[in-house]
Structure formats: C-alpha cells, structure tokens
Amino acid sequence: MAKTKIDGVQLALLSNRLEGISSKMGNTLMRTGRSGVLNIARDFSCCILTGDDKLVAVAEALPIHVLSGPDIMAKTMKEYHPDLKRGDAFLHNSPYHGCSHAADHTILIPVIDDDGVHRYTVAAKAHQADIGNSIPTTYHGTARDVYEEGALIFPAVKVQENYEYNMDIVRMCQMRIRVPEQWWGDFLAMMGAARIGEREILALGKEVGWDTLENFNEQWFDYSAERMVGAIKQLPAGTATRTSTHDAIPGTPEDGITIKSIVTIDPDAGKVTVDLRDNIDAQPCGLNLSEACARTSAMVGVFNSIDHSVPKNAGSFGRIEVLLREGSVCGIPKHPTSCSVATTNVADRVSNPTQAAMAEIADGFGLAECGAIIPPSTGVVSGINPDTGEPFVNQVFLGLSGGAGAPDADAWQTICHVGNGGLCYQDSIELDELRQPLFVKARGFSPDTEGAGRFCGSRAVYTEFGPRVGNLDVAYVSDGGINGPKGVRGGLGGACADQFRITRNGDREELANCDVVNLVAGELIGSQSCGGGGYGNPMDREPEMVAHDVREDYVSVERAASVYGVVVDDMGNLDVAATEKMRAGL
C-alpha cells in the first residue's frame, strides 16, 4: 500500500492509543510485582518497539531504563531467533546485548499478526530482588568481573513457546536465585504485563489496519523529531565540557572515576552531541556502564535540560548523537567486564555533567547536579528473621533526596538520583518494620544542607536504623561522600553523603563507602544522603523564599545572611531594608 499522509488528528489518536497500551502494561506490572525494588522504587518499565526495533511508546518509567537499550535488546532477539512465532517470549538481562544491567530481568514478546508478520515488540523490564549474585545484593560494586558478580546472564533466551513455559529455565533460576518465590512472582507479573501489551496491539492492528499503523510509526517519529528540533532551536550554539567524579571504591583508581562529558549544541542543525569518548577504560569493578546505560544516561542529561513536553521516542532520539568508545568505563563494555551497578553510580556521573554543561551554555536551560547514591538508607538489608526463622533479602527505600535546582524552580526533593527522576517511592516506616525485623529510629531533612542557588537543590536526608531483634546485614555502594552534587551558573553544591555505625554505647564509627555491614541488636547505622546542587547565584534568590526556609527550620538565620545575604529575625520575618543593604554591600 502506498504511503498516505496521516493527519494531525489520527496522529494524536494513535499515539494516545499506543501510549495507553504501554501504560496499561506498566500499571499491571506495578500492581502485581512482588519485590520492593519493583513496586516501591518503581524500578521497572514497559515499552513498545516497532518491528524494526525503534522505540515508539513508553509508559511513564524511570528515565535510565528505557531511552536506549530496548532497541538493542529487540535486535538481539531477532538475531538469535530469526524464526519468531506468536506465543514466543524471551528473557533478557545481558548488559552485553542491550540490557541496562543484569538485575533488570526483561521479558520481550514479538507481536506477530495473523499473517505471521512481526509488527511490534513489547518489553517489560523489572529490577529483581535477587539475581543469584555471589553476595546478597543486586548491586555488586566491587565485583572484578561478571564471574565474581555471579549473576545468571540471559541474552534473549526463549522462555515461552506457544504460550507454554520452558520450565528448565524456570527451575535453573529457582536453584540459583535467593527468594525464588519472589522472583517467580515478579516473573509472572512481567509476563502478564507483556502479554497484555501483545493482546492490545493485536486488537489495535485488527481495528485500524497494520498498514495504517506502519504509516503512523514513521509519521510519529517525524513529528517527534520536529518537536525536538524546535526545542533545540531555542538554545544558543556552543560547546561546554564538564566533569563529574565518582568516589573511589575498591577496584577503581585511587582518585575515583572521573567522567568527562563534552556537550555541543547546534541549533541550526537541530542537534545535540554528547561526546563520552575521552574517558578511562573499564575498571575491575561493578561500576562500568552497559552500552544501554551509557547512551541513556547522556540522553537523560539532554532531556532534563530542554522542553519536557517533547515526546521520547526514536524520532526525538535521532536528534541526539552520543559518541561512545568500545572498552571505556562509560562506553561499550566487553564481556566479562562487570556492569553490575550500571544504572546508578557512574551513569549519574554521565547525566549530571551533561545537564550541567547544557546549563553553562544556556541560562534558563539545563539543570544542576543531582545527588549521588546508593547510601545505606537505600541499601539491601538481609538476615534471618528470628520471629519466623525465615531468611529475608530486600532493598529498602528509607530516605533519599538529591534533587537539583532548576532554571525556574527549586528542586524536587525526593529525586532519588538523576536516572530515577523521582519516581521512586519512599518506604513507609511501618511497612518496612513489618516486612523485616527493623527499627527505624529517625528519618528527616537535615538543616543547612541544601545546594544554595537562585533556585535551590535538595537538602540531605538523615536516616538511622538497625535490627529490632537479631542481626542485620546492610549492603550499599555510597557515592558522593567526597564528590558531592555541584551547582551551576554560580549555584553552590549540596551536602555530601556520609555513613557510620552507632554502637550500643552511642559511639559513632565511620564506615567505608562501599560495604556489607553487619549490625547486631542495639546497633544502628546512620546514613546521610546527598543533597542537590543549586541553580544560579544564591544572592539572587527571592528573599521571601529564604525567609520561608528559615521559618520551616530548613535554613538557619546565620546561613540566610552569610550565603543568601538575607536578613531574617528569630521569628522568621524578613527584614527587607537590611537585606537590600547587605546584598548591596556583598
């Protein structure tokens, strides 16, 4: 059939339909998942790709999961299984073949029409509570390679044929993965979500015709590319280089891992280039990026910096060029490089300097740096529950902030980390204390920790917790203790992360930034999360906003004066005249 131009009405209707299907997949997955990381951190995503592997629709999902990667995974599926049939489903978690990291099990289903033509691929991806690593965490920061990491790797492995499970693979997983019931529950949830996507797309194809959908795909990409060009044309031309350094942990260079991002904006060409090639080689640790995370983290930095209403799909992605180098710590990894922690730590060190560079080129765009993770307050807790004798392993989300100051607004406090975009829920204290034998003594914002600016970055969150009875292991990889979140355009940095053990007699013992800590009853772990960087000079901050922060106990009277040049009395009242005088003199 000849290509016919789809009008703006049908474009709106069909894009709405496909997005509706991906949301339905996402809702199903969130409501049925078993592990906390899935249904609390919302560490999952659902998307739809065209038959030629272009991302066309994605449910609202954490940014690091979906921008790039599903395309490579779908390609891998086709390459390894050229004869796709309706009823097939594939398990994929290989960071060497497009998955973000091994913890993100993904179900891929090819949508095959009645004539046997592969029209779309649906993907449901979810971070698992456990994947059979050598230690009880899905973030193995110090693993020298994939062998020490220990995860089972599935490069698009067929797990269903004709809608029937291959139980051999299921049993292999159950023999290797801690909490096998939890894994099986999440596996079912992903399969359910993907099958719903398949069913709905088949119905849509019948209703409107496959040729119409093929036409739509192309024109939707054209439309999205046009919107992206429009957004880029609002920016000035320029190049900026920013670096961001991940703190040292075992297996990294002594000074940590510094990532350099060179950003070039070319409004005439309607294009942004992010060059990550001038970076060090992959390291003997779990922090290296997968290709999916390297590309996506750069794209997150760009999309965080521009008009947020531009659709995210292969059309707009085509206006961003990400330059990667094979074998780099933030490039294309070679097996058996470990990418265990690829979605968070170094990925954040790519997104942050990218959006900061955008801000340095263009006032009114870009974003300051978000805080780093994973502090103990969001670590993986494990042990044996003395009440039941049963083992438990779970990632908790007790207290995180890390939001960056923006051109026109203060930070979203609970951004979690830049790649999460704030979707993560914060755990209910009661729910966590019920799920495992925990005692959470405190969780709250720490005063005077914000990244001061014209618009401020987040305040740090302080959390204190330990076992209610018995022993508790807490595993974490806490970046940002030395290299905190930086501000942009004169904005100041946010507070750094910190962690320590509080012994039974109340003494504080500093802890390493990457560890599995054993706590005995009566001991607590204290965890401070990073704040976020500020945007613009704090001396330009609206004085009433500073006074409000003083009244709310977030900023001290002294800091209001010394950092913001704002005079506030003890009752929190703004002294306008004194403030003007102080700001003029400073």
Binding site: G36, G185, E207, H308, I429, E433, L434, Y554
Partner: protein, 692 residues
C-alpha cells in the same frame, strides 16, 4: 417527601421525591461565598414549581440529604484551621516525604510540594512503640505538655496526632489525646488510630491532619445548615453524603469531616448501579460524569462500587493523599469547557486547560475567545443555539466558528466542520483513556460494562465513547444531569470500621482474627442501634485487605463467612483471593500463600422503601421536534431527527442520526446507532461498531 441536594462547582442540583416515589429535578446556581444560600435557592425553585411556599414545601419533608464540595473547596483555597501536627520523635517529616513518587520525570518546572501542615507547626513527641506492639521508649508526658503550651501561645486551632504503630498499641496516642483535652480544652483534635486505623504512617497522618484542619469550619457549616433549614420550616433529619458513597448524620460528620472530601461525586456510581440494573439488568457499569471542566469516571463491579485508599487532593504526588477509603473516582481535565489547541509540530490537543464557567466557551459571549468542546458541538449542530439550558441562554454560533477556524482549522488545514469533529474526536479519546485507566486498575473489561453518561454535557459524545470502548449499551438517565443528587436519594446510611491485624494463610491465627471480627461486628451493631435505628433493612459485610507475600499493595477480598471456624474457611479466603487477583490483574499464583494486613467491616442501613429513578410526568410547555442539519465525520451534513427527551414514549426507538434534547441535556445519536426510551425514563443507546 424527601430532598437530595448536591452542591457542585457551577450548579446546585436538587432532586425532590414526592410521596408517590416520583422524582423532580431542579437546578440553581452555586453561591461559593455562602453555599447554603444556593441550597435554599434550589429549594425555592422547587417550591415555586410546586406552587407552595418554601416553608410549606419544607414542612412536607422528613429527610434532607446533602452532598457538598465545601470541604474540598476549603482545602483548595487554604481556608482551613491553623493546625499542628504531633508525631513520633525522629519522624517530623512524615508529611513532607509523603510516600515519594513523582509524575512527569522530565518536568523540572514544578517544585516540590509544601506539606499539608507546615514543618514549623510539626512537633516530635519522645516515645516509641515497635512493630510487635512493645514499648521501646516510654512517652515523655512532660515534653508533650511543653509542646501543648507552645501551641496555645501560637493560637493553634486544631491538632492532629499520628504516632508510629498506634494502630496496634494506641497507649501513647490515647494519652496525648487526654493531655490535649486537659491542656487545650475546647481545641478540636484527631487521633490517627481512631480516625483511620490502617497501616502506613503517612496515609494515617495525612488523614488526621486533613480531618483536624476541617473540624472548626465543618462543624460550623453543619450547625449553620441545620439551623437555617429549621428556620425555613424543615423539621426532619439531615444526612450528609460521604466519600464512601453512604450517608451520615450531619452532627456525626462534623466530628469526622474527612468523610466530606469526595461528598458528591461518590454518589454518581450509586445512581449508575441502579440504572444499569433497572434498564439493562447488568451489575457492571462505567459511570462517566461530564461537567464543564472535569470528567469523573467511577465504576460498579458485580454490584459493588470499588473503593480506593489512594485518593489525592490535587494531582498525584503533587497534592495530599487523604489516606482514607473513598469511592474510586478518576477525574481528568476534560469537559465542555476544555480548550482545543494545536502544537508547533501540528498535532491537535484538547485540554487540560479549560475556559471554565468564566469566561467560558467562545459561544457564551462572555469574553472567551478560545475554541472549546462546547463550541465544536455547536458548530457541528449537536447543540441548538436557541435551546441551550432549555432556552435560558442563547449561544453565539459565529463566535464558535471564528474561534475554531482561527485556532484549529487554519493551522491544520482542515475545513471548519472537520476541525470541529476532530476536536470532539480528541476529547472522546482523552475520556476513553481515563476510563481505560480506572478499569485496568480495578480489573474491569469495559466491553462487559454498561456505560452510563451523567452531567449536562454527557450526551454529546457518549455514543462515540461507547463505540471506542466496544460497549453494548450506553445509558443516559433522565436524571443524568443531576446524577449525584439522584444517587444520594438512593443511598444508605453507612459506616465502616477497620482494624490492622497481620495474619498469614500458613499458620493462620483463627482465634486472633475472630477476636478482631468480634470487635468489628460489635461496632457495626452499635451503629445499627444508633444512627440506624428504625431503618428498614441492615447489612454487615466483612473484608480482608490481602496480598501475596512481599507484595506491597493489598486488594480487598470479601469474606464468605463471618468467622473462621475451620481450615476450610481459611482456604475459602485464599481461593477467593486468587480469584480476585486474577480478575484484577489477569494473573494469579495459586501455589502461593496469602497475607492479610487489615480487616474491615462495612454496615449499611436502608432508609428508603422501594426504589425509583424516574421523573414524574409533566406537561411540556415547548416542543422542538423536527429535523436539523448535523455534521458527522464520514457522513458530512445529514438531516438528523430532533426529538424532545421527555416526549419520547416508553419503548420508542429512534435510529441515528438523531438528537434528543431536554432543558438539561442533549444526546447525540450517531449514524448507525439506535436509541430507545426505557421504563425508567432513560435513553438506552446501542452505539454500534466503530468504523474501521
């Protein structure tokens, strides 16, 4: 005689039930500065129609039922009491964190929301109860008294208290309550475990904070309402509609005003349930209430109206969660006033911006120049410019045309009519997605449900929505323009009691659970003996809030038996859970055990003998029957039959294209669809299939 009054954003709707069970529908403008005046105005309109004095009309009635948006308006406009928040040491920021989460992950123009109660009025109380109900640290009463003295100095008007684990050991929270009575006599307060004894401290704290902040104003409102009704001649009982789709006495709701948050919209599904059963013999329905600015979708699933605990005031993650069970209503910004616009990539959008009541659509001639859904309806011929609101307002067709040509047709290179039809198509699709969203969350296949259209603007595109969803039938009740008020007339006295008690299907603690069920049933019985005294019929139902191990979202499962006498009773619960889980999520895990987090008892007392949703017959003063030119996509301009809603005979069938009009609503019957008048007065539409 009975009255049901629903105060909405624009109109105050009144349904009067006469002594022969016939209904009468009236409308007056809402008066936001003094909403009770709007209530009395609507009663005066009715009195005039019945040719009675207001006092004589009121004197005939024994029941006055009221749904009101007054509480939600007080919160939205910041007119609540100065309220303090007391919580467990170390956890001052419960209301700041909420439960985290965010929408639009790439949108950095929206700053983090302020807590419901400022941090400056949030206080930490030393003392700690643990998950096993033991006391880790005793309550520091001296410190509590110090705090209370500080609140006195700050002239705080209400206090909310939420301590960790008060749901399983309320000793500390109760003691704080006693100290408030002693040191802040007369200051209203709310204890979280009394109001909302459920797990998850943020939701409980938020319930308590919202409830306490409403107490001073809402008790005054209820006193004022009952006082002014009495003064006007009413000496019957005054009942108020709750968020849970039931009713409570005005004096009782003043003690727990949080139940007022969704008062009003919660009644639409009560009506919907009645009409689905009466008109089509169905127990599953999607109810869509179209207003000027919002489109509210609610459900009936196998005869039940599903609840949600995730009710937000404002947008999800940016507003405040009520933490309280409420009838599940999904609202989106779509309605007659939604504005159509074209973006810089050439794509058409409708809403979420709305022209509201002021300035309103372009055709209102009140200064609005943006094209809206109402303007598109007028251009297409769906609306008659001379018969809008029964001819009480005339519409400016040229203004609609100009706005659509300028903002839609020209930038998209479409004809005027195609542009107007496109606006309706996009609005329809937005509404369809809202329905898809709530039905997937509640596990209903919309194809298996009757679609019920309420609100004055429902009839414009309900046939089109029905087609898109694959609905067999679309119902437009004759009282559809006052669907919530009609629902209020049909609802029951209702109360619900909840206890947190953890149990697992393996090693089920039957004695412990039965003890909890005893307590819940006793509460229900005292409700029946109290507010429910003299009711016609009483029912008690029990529910478990259950989940698979490690899941964090519970689903509600009805209990088949009132107590767990044997293992078979436990197995029955487990089997029911697997079934409900599969219903809602399309999967289950039959080999897995089940955990129960909370137990709920719901008691209903029926006050009304017989049921009717039919308007009493009346003489038509005007008739507009005939034909007019109406434009439909794919058909162009066609001659559509125009028929007066009230004049259609029972069983009369109209084939589309047709327009059915009343002073309150306009129903568009698309080509290919047919409409039939039902005995209840409803118009029942077979929408037909969507064009391929």
């Amino acid at each position: 005689m009975r009255f049901a009054v629903d105060t909405g954003g624009t109109f105050t709707d009144l349904i009067v039930e006469d002594d022969e069970n016939g209904l009468h529908m009236f409308k007056a403008s809402t008066t936001p500065d003094d909403p009770i005046r709007g209530v009395l105005d609507s009663l005066q309109v009715a009195a005039d129609d019945f040719e009675l004095s207001l006092a004589d009309l009121l004197g005939k009635a024994d029941l006055f039922i009221h749904g009101t948006t007054h509480a939600i308006n007080a919160i939205v406009t910041g007119n609540t009491a100065k309220t303090a928040f007391l919580t467990t040491e170390g956890h001052r920021d419960i209301l700041v964190f909420r439960e985290g989460g965010r929408m639009e992950p790439f949108n950095f123009t929206v700053p983090y929301p302020q807590p419901y109660i400022p941090r400056a009025l949030s206080y930490e109380v030393p003392g700690r109860i643990l998950a096993d109900a033991s006391e880790k640290k005793p309550l520091d009463e001296g410190r509590v008294v110090e705090i209370l003295n500080e609140l006195k100095a700050k002239e705080v008007e209400a206090v909310a208290v939420c301590l960790l684990w008060s749901i399983i050991n309320p000793a500390h929270e109760d003691r704080v309550g006693e100290l408030i009575e002693q040191h802040l006599p007369g200051v209203p307060y709310t204890l979280s475990h009394v109001l909302n004894p459920s797990l998850r401290e943020y939701r409980r704290a938020s319930s308590a904070a919202i409830d306490a902040s409403l107490k001073p104003q809402m008790s005054a409102y209820m006193r004022n309402l009952t006082g002014r009704l009495t003064e006007a001649g009413f000496d019957g009982r005054t009942l108020i509609v709750t968020s849970q789709g039931g009713m409570m006495d005005a004096s009782d709701i003043a003690e727990q005003p949080i139940h007022l948050i969704n008062s009003g919209p919660s009644m639409a599904p009560v009506s919907g349930r009645y009409f689905a059963r009466e008109d089509e013999g169905s127990d599953t329905a999607v109810i869509a209430d179209t207003g000027g600015t919002t489109y509210d979708v609610s459900l009936v699933r196998r005869g039940r109206i599903p609840w949600t605990r995730e009710t937000w005031i404002g947008q999800p993650y940016r507003g405040h969660m009520t933490g309280f069970p409420s009838v599940d209503v999904k609202s989106i910004g779509a309605g007659g006033g939604s504005i159509a616009w074209v973006d810089d990539g050439g794509m058409l959008h409708v809403g979420p911006q709305s022209a509201g009541a002021v300035p309103g659509p372009a055709c209102y001639g009140q200064g609005g120049d943006k094209p809206t859904v109402t303007d598109a309806s007028l251009v297409l011929g769906y609306l008659d410019p001379e018969f809008f609101l029964g001819g009480n307002m005339s519409l400016d067709l040229d203004a609609s045309r100009d706005a659509i040509i300028r903002e839609v047709a020209t930038p998209m290179n479409l004809s005027l009519e195609d542009a107007a039809a496109a606006v309706i198509s996009i609005a329809t699709e937005n509404m369809v997605q809202a329905i898809v969203d709530i039905t997937v969350n509640q596990g209903i296949d919309p194809r298996d449900a009757i679609l019920i259209g309420g609100g004055g603007a429902a009839g414009i595109n309900s046939t089109a929505i029905g087609r898109r969803l694959g609905s067999e039938r679309v119902i437009i009740p004759e009282v559809g323009a006052a669907l919530s008020a009609a629902g209020a007339m049909m609802s029951d006295l209702h109360a619900q009691y909840t206890r947190t008690f953890f149990a697992t299907s393996e090693g089920f603690d039957a004695d412990g659970v039965n003890g909890i069920l005893d307590v819940l049933e006793a509460s229900c019985n005292s409700f029946i003996d109290g507010p429910g005294q003299g009711s016609i019929d009483q029912t008690i139902e029990f529910f478990a809030e259950a989940r698979y191990p490690e899941q964090v979202w519970e689903i509600e499962v009805p209990l088949a038996s009132r107590r767990f006498e044997s293992d078979a009773d436990v197995q029955a619960l487990v089997q029911e859970f697997h079934k409900v889980h599969e219903d809602i999520f399309a999967i289950n895990d039959p080999n897995s055990g089940v955990e129960v987090v909370g137990w709920t008892a719901s008691v209903k007392c029926r006050l009304r003998e017989g049921e009717s949703g039919s308007l009493a017959a009346r003489d038509l003063k005007t008739s507009v029957d005939g034909t007019r030119k109406v434009y439909f996509s794919g058909h162009g301009h066609v001659d559509a039959t125009v028929r007066r809603f009230e004049a259609m005979k029972q069983g009369e069938v109209l084939a589309g294209p047709a327009i059915i009009e009343s002073p309150f609503t306009t129903v568009v019957v698309d080509p290919g669809a047919t409409a039939e008048r039902r005995a209840s007065g409803s118009v029942s539409i077979v929408p037909g299939k969507a064009a391929a």
